[in-house]
Symmetry: C2
Subunit: 143 residues, 2 copies
């Protein structure tokens, strides 16, 4: 086999090995009529404003925590660990002690919709500014 | 370098090359304060019952359609293409002509929450049975 062909084969095989198992397990889990675990799939949005109803979502990310952490959330694994530690209670996410934020009032509203461990979630929370939002928890609201 | 170390290095590099670009673009997109495109991130659930309020979500999948199709939805790409073709109108998803379903009444309710092209989505629809649900569109409700 010429060298380039061998490299192409290696890359394809490795991609399957690395990316494949995730897709495979997700498929198996979502397709089975009786899933082995309670689903945890969320959409988080953030936008400027006091209430979600009046604000346009500027960013929206997905977060799936079962069977594995995934989604477009930039820190999916940390976010899942944090949520598991509070039992899915978004109000219980503690603020970080080291965050230094100004008192500027430029409210941002975060929404969370979907399912956490089999229970429907519909959550909304307003922070006085972006910095304060990002200071809660270490990952969940930082997107 | 011993052979095993070289292989480990190859796998790591390849994994970064193959999986990295996706993560990178997702990060850039979700982190930038002014995203280059309107976000499209959804959570779809399905459960037995007539109304979402009375039913337990048995399955829940995420679907992200920008910048690329992703999520735990088993056919994310097809689902995104279908939704784009109806402009995000879930009621406009046509039923497949070739679906053969019984008239059995065992209702399943589907919910869709999140954001489609920058607009909030909160959708609920009841189908008379699982087969009828899966006959709508080719992918969106088939999870």
């Amino acid at each position: 086999m010429p060298n380039t062909a061998r490299w192409a084969a290696t890359i394809t095989l490795t991609a399957t090995a690395v990316c494949g198992p995730l897709t495979g397990s997700a498929l198996a889990a979502t397709h089975s009529p009786a899933a082995l675990y309670a689903p945890s799939s969320l959409v988080l949005t953030t936008g400027h404003g006091e209430f979600a109803a009046d604000s346009t979502p500027e960013r929206a990310v997905t977060l799936s925590c079962a069977p594995t952490a995934s989604g477009t959330h930039p820190a999916a694994l940390s976010a899942c660990i944090e949520l598991r530690s509070t039992g899915g209670d978004f109000d219980a996410l503690a603020t970080r002690g080291d965050a230094m934020c100004t008192r500027e009032y430029d409210p941002v509203v975060v929404t969370v919709d979907g399912v956490w461990q089999g229970k429907r979630v519909s959550y909304e929370r307003t922070f006085s500014n972006e910095c304060v939002k990002n200071s809660y928890g270490t990952a969940v609201f930082t997107f």
